[in-house]
């Protein structure tokens, strides 16, 4: 019963934070509330027997998205006056949303309480997948095509963001954080390596590890470190695309190793090599994710002296 109470409070908190984030007058408040919401969400997921997802949500959903939003706020040079919406502007969408919500909830209540039969199939396939953790098996073996495309999406987001990136003046670094971050960096790398390794058998994996690495890199980067970490550097480009590239090349090599129609054996890892392949693919995916996220959050190392913004039109 107390568990149900906990659940109820958690759910109410989630709803309240989300609503507050949407309704708060100040954008900065909204972002903070959103981050809090993300952390609560992670808690809820941990409660629902999804600790690996909770980790990912905390790192990606709350942490990264929050960081991105804050950096967007910082770039928001014009202070928008808090917009006041008139009643009809609020009412009609609310009516529409309530109607739609009613429909969706009515349907959701019909969901069967039993889990998918796929769980059994997954378990059966686990032995040949090369890893013992079922989520990793799904991600990098059973449905690796999704994962490959997802890495492409991540790369694309980077390309798109780079393409439109405005040039910004570097934030002045903070000496305390500078010294801290130097200490932080090796620890972050160690931790990320562990997460990656753990992914094969326990909660963890490329995404969490990558996100963690990225977080470390971002901290360093905000303190003017890692200036070599730039898209114009060929090796950085190579490492960033390596997530996808190694994945594809490994898959192509695997085709050569397996007899049969190329379409049929595409992405099929030979069982005895599967563990190694998955670790290889994951390793590069981690590096690529870390680099991509770093560049996404921290942007290019600022070219000094570029006077932009208001002064430009003179």
């Amino acid at each position: 019963m107390s568990l149900l109470l906990f659940d109820t409070i958690l759910c109410l908190l989630l709803l309240a934070l989300a609503l507050a984030s949407i309704l708060s007058r100040q954008l900065a408040h909204a972002v903070i509330l959103y981050i809090a919401f993300g952390l609560m969400m992670a808690l809820a997921w941990a409660r629902l027997a999804a600790p690996d997802l909770a980790l990912a949500e905390a790192a990606i959903g709350a942490g990264l998205t929050g960081a991105l939003c804050f950096s967007a706020l910082a770039h928001q040079q014009i202070q928008l006056k808090p917009d006041v919406l008139s009643w009809p502007q609020r009412l009609w969408p609310a009516v529409f949303v309530l109607l739609m919500l009613g429909g969706v909830l009515a349907a959701l209540l019909q969901l069967p309480p039993t889990a998918s039969q796929l769980i059994a199939v997954t378990q059966a396939g686990l032995g040949n997948s090369g890893v013992s953790h079922p989520v990793t098996a799904v991600l990098l073996n059973f449905r690796s095509w999704d994962t490959l495309l997802e890495l492409v999406v991540l790369l694309l987001a980077l390309l798109g963001a780079r393409q439109v990136a405005p040039e910004v003046k570097p934030a002045t670094s903070w000496s305390l954080s500078l010294s801290w971050s130097r200490l932080l960096a090796p620890m972050v790398i160690l931790l990320a390596g562990y997460l990656l390794w753990a992914g094969a058998s326990q909660p963890g994996g490329a995404f969490q590890a990558g996100a963690l690495l990225a977080a470390g890199a971002v901290v360093l980067r905000l303190n003017q470190q890692l200036s070599w970490l730039s898209w114009s550097n060929f090796w950085i480009r190579l490492l960033t695309v390596s997530g996808v590239l190694v994945f594809v090349l490994t898959a192509l090599t695997a085709i050569l190793l397996t007899p049969g129609n190329t379409d049929v054996v595409w992405l099929r890892w030979p069982p005895q090599l599967a563990a190694g392949i998955i670790l290889l693919v994951e390793l590069f995916a981690t590096i690529a994710i870390a680099l991509t996220l770093t560049v996404l959050v921290a942007g290019e190392p600022a070219s000094t002296g570029a006077e932009l913004g208001c002064g430009e039109g003179v």
Partner: protein, 472 residues
């Protein structure tokens, strides 16, 4: 072969990122090879029937399934050919139009996303494809620089929202049936509240992404703001992706009662798109917006055909639906390239820029008019074939006079907006002087798809057979 079609664009896009200098060369090479392979795949499929693959050899349900049927392979071929053509056009004009180096890898990714989408038969994989397409499309639009940022952002947000609606539907379906494979799902399908809600959510999301009326508001601004080759790709191919999934859902999954309930709505939306899109195209003062609104209107034909197909289950409507998609893809590629070429050379973006273009840029104007002929549906163009199939279907269903009237009106509207531009081009009084000497090669490239769409008459019979039996 599917692997080649998927991996080649991806690998070449990666290499383009690493070595930007050879990007155009690589892009053209890839597109040519892919065209050949796609042709081979089409031949294979037409001889041996559809090719199904459970990826990585895992059992059905666990694995992602791909299927190359005749429709998919036709669309893959179309994608590869248009990529090749647009690549050539972009190569010929990229210096003048300041198309950034970003175009090449993005166009490779676009090809990957589209090919993956045409092949996929897995609900979640389709979601990833959709997101890939959406992001790559927005990135391509934003190549235009400052003027395109706002429409691009709007496009991205709505596209994300559409994807999320779709994803919610997928989640509900998985919650109900525990599978993602469309074929498996179809065998377990029950027409109840749960599946209806999921279908409606997915339909909402897909209609938003495909810019189907009334959720088309983002399209004209985004397509008009993009660089000409990008607009051509977006209008010709990208909006067809979600449409394809929509058809997949309603034709393969939905139960009879669900279909019966939704069919009139689809047809009605198609009707509204045809008429209102046509009117908007007629009224807008900007050339590229006119072409973009024409896309909204033409997608109405596809919607109408889908609605009628669901209502009457007449194979002719399936043929009409896909013929519209094919013909529109080719015609619209020409329209955007031709209009882009004209506005770039004559310097202006209003329709009045076209004044006298039949003298200053006769070839591009001719290309536009020829493509316009297909949009109107004049014989023997692809647009005519599609309309013919639609009319035949309607007459065979006992003369649906109301819909016939709609088609007549829509045809006249499309004629009105096409010829509004053409008549202006024949104005000899004071033609707009070109900013620089018109170039011949891009104009010829713009003409090519229009010629292809008019030549559709020559291979219409096999095409009709192919699409009628397929219909998804």
């Amino acid at each position: 072969m599917m692997v080649v079609l998927l991996v080649l664009p991806l690998l070449s896009a990666l290499f383009m990122l690493l070595w930007p200098r050879i990007a155009p060369l690589l892009a053209l090479l890839t597109a040519s090879v892919c065209s050949l392979v796609a042709l081979q795949l089409l031949l294979l499929v037409s001889q041996q029937g559809s090719q199904q693959v459970l990826l990585a050899g895992w059992p059905s349900g666990l694995a992602i399934s791909l299927e190359a049927n005749s429709l998919s392979s036709l669309l893959i071929l179309l994608t590869a050919l248009l990529q090749l053509l647009v690549g050539l056009y972009a190569f010929a004009t990229h210096r003048r139009d300041k198309l950034g180096a970003g175009f090449w890898p993005l166009s490779g990714m676009l090809q990957l996303g589209l090919t993956a989408l045409w092949l996929s038969r897995d609900l979640f994989n389709l979601y990833v494809c959709l997101e890939l397409l959406g992001i790559v499309a927005v990135a391509l639009v934003s190549l235009s620089g400052d003027k395109a940022i706002k429409p691009a952002l709007n496009y991205l947000l709505l596209s994300l929202f559409g994807s999320l609606c779709y994803l919610l539907g997928v989640a509900i379906l998985y919650g109900a049936y525990g599978v993602l494979d469309i074929t498996v799902l179809a065998s377990q399908w029950q027409a109840d509240l749960l599946s209806s809600t999921a279908l409606l959510l997915m339909t909402l999301g897909l209609m938003l992404k495909a810019a189907l009326w009334p959720l088309h508001g983002w399209l004209p601004a985004a397509h008009a703001a993009a660089p000409a080759p990008v607009s051509a790709l977006l209008s010709a191919l990208v909006v067809k992706g979600p449409l394809f999934i929509l058809c997949l859902l309603w034709l393969q999954l939905a139960g009879a009662t669900q279909v019966a309930a939704v069919a009139p709505w689809f047809a009605g939306c198609g009707l509204a798109a045809l008429l209102l899109g046509g009117v908007s195209a007629l009224r807008t003062p900007f050339a590229k917006n006119m072409v973009a609104y024409s896309t909204v209107a033409q997608l109405g034909y596809a919607m109408l055909a889908l609605g009628l197909l669901l209502r009457f289950n007449q194979p002719l409507f399936a043929a009409a639906l896909w013929l519209f998609v094919l013909a529109h893809a080719l015609a619209k590629a020409t329209c955007f390239l031709a209009v882009g070429e004209i506005t770039a050379t004559l310097g202006g973006k209003r329709i009045s820029t076209l004044k006298g273009a039949s003298q200053t840029m006769p070839l591009a104007m001719f290309a536009f008019a020829v493509a316009g002929g297909s949009l109107i549906g004049l014989p023997p163009s692809g647009g005519f074939l599609a309309k013919w199939a639609l009319l035949q279907g309607l007459w065979l269903q006992g003369g649906q006079l109301f819909w016939l009237l709609v088609i007549v009106l829509a045809t006249l509207l499309s004629a009105a907006y096409v010829f509004r531009a053409v008549v202006l081009a024949f104005n000899r009084a004071d033609p707009v002087a070109p900013d620089f000497a018109p170039r011949i090669l891009p104009q010829w490239l713009a003409l090519l798809p229009a010629l292809a769409v008019w030549a559709m008459a020559l291979y219409s019979e096999p095409l009709l057979q192919l699409l009628k039996q397929e219909g998804l």
